[in-house]
């Protein structure tokens, strides 16, 4: 038997998997099914790069939201500190004025 004949025999055409044409037509009409073989018909195939892209997008959105929250909290804390410092300054000033007033009254009563 010649190698040519053996090759022709080994490389004969084989039938496409059952339902192949239906899956092609489903993709033509906008479906996402790709594989059939071994009972996987109808399952949408999520390409790995789409999964990675979606993960990155989600991470970026969560990261952005987290950073925004952190900046807001820092701004609120700084505002709170400034408010407390102003109140403290007013309180010190008030106490000093009261002390001075008491001193003036003491001098005038003598």
């Amino acid at each position: 038997m010649s190698l040519d004949n053996d090759l022709r025999n080994a490389l004969r055409r084989v039938p496409a998997p059952e339902g192949f044409a239906d899956r092609v037509l489903a993709r033509v009409h906008g479906g996402q099914t790709i594989l059939s073989a071994r009972g996987q018909a109808g399952l949408p195939v999520l390409h790995w790069w789409r999964g990675i892209a979606a993960t990155f997008l989600l991470a970026a959105m969560l990261g952005g939201w987290g950073a925004h929250e952190m900046v807001e909290r820092r701004r609120e804390a700084a505002g709170q500190r400034a408010r407390e410092q102003v109140l403290l300054a007013l309180r010190i000033t008030g106490e000093k004025l009261a002390h001075a007033e008491r001193g003036v009254r003491h001098i005038t009563s003598e």
């Binding site: 190698l3 022709r8 490389l11 004969r12 084989v14 039938p15 192949f20 993709r27 033509v28």
Partner: protein, 180 residues
């Protein structure tokens, strides 16, 4: 002769109707050529899922390019060309991802007088050839094409095809222990 002409005429008519948007005609084209397209990918990869994915992509591409197909002969050439280039591109892009033929299911083929184990051993040897040689051998023996036709399909000079074929057959003879 007249039966052949009728058949060719019908095929041309199916192609024309598919180009005009007839879904049934396109389905008929897929059914007519699915075995050829799938088999080229199958003999190249020995991986059923990968072969089906590529064959589906080829028909999807055909659907988008139906307007460029001129005749039935052109359709056959186009399908062989796109399938073979897609297979070689896929190997370059994703690597061999070759599976052992022990893990590959036997696909149903018409019964023949040949030894199925010898055919399996031969396919295993073919799967170890470099991608271009593997494709040239597949087109030569699956599709019974001569080197000039293969050259037009894969876009290489005829002498390069002859050289690929020569080297591939030498390697296969060596692997199979066939006397030269």
């Amino acid at each position: 002769m007249s039966a052949l002409l009728t058949e060719v005429g019908e095929s041309e008519d199916i192609l024309r109707r598919a180009q005009e948007g007839d879904g049934d005609a396109f389905a008929a084209l897929v059914s007519e050529h699915e075995s050829m397209v799938f088999s080229i990918a199958w003999h190249f990869f020995s991986d059923r899922n990968r072969s089906e994915e590529i064959a589906q992509d080829v028909f999807l591409q055909l659907y988008r390019n139906l307007g460029k197909i001129e005749t039935r002969a052109h359709l056959l050439f186009w399908l062989r060309q796109v399938t073979s280039r897609r297979c070689i591109d896929e190997v370059r892009r994703a690597g061999p991802r070759r599976i052992s033929l022990d893990d590959a299911p036997e696909l149903p083929v018409a019964p023949s007088s040949h030894d199925p184990l010898a055919s399996r051993r031969l396919r295993e040897s073919i799967s170890t050839l470099p991608p271009r040689q593997r494709m040239v051998v597949t087109l030569r023996y699956q599709e019974d094409l001569d080197p000039s036709e293969i050259g037009r399909i894969v876009g290489l000079p005829v002498n390069t095809i002859k050289s690929h074929l020569h080297r591939a057959l030498l390697a296969l003879r060596k692997k199979m222990g066939v006397e030269t």
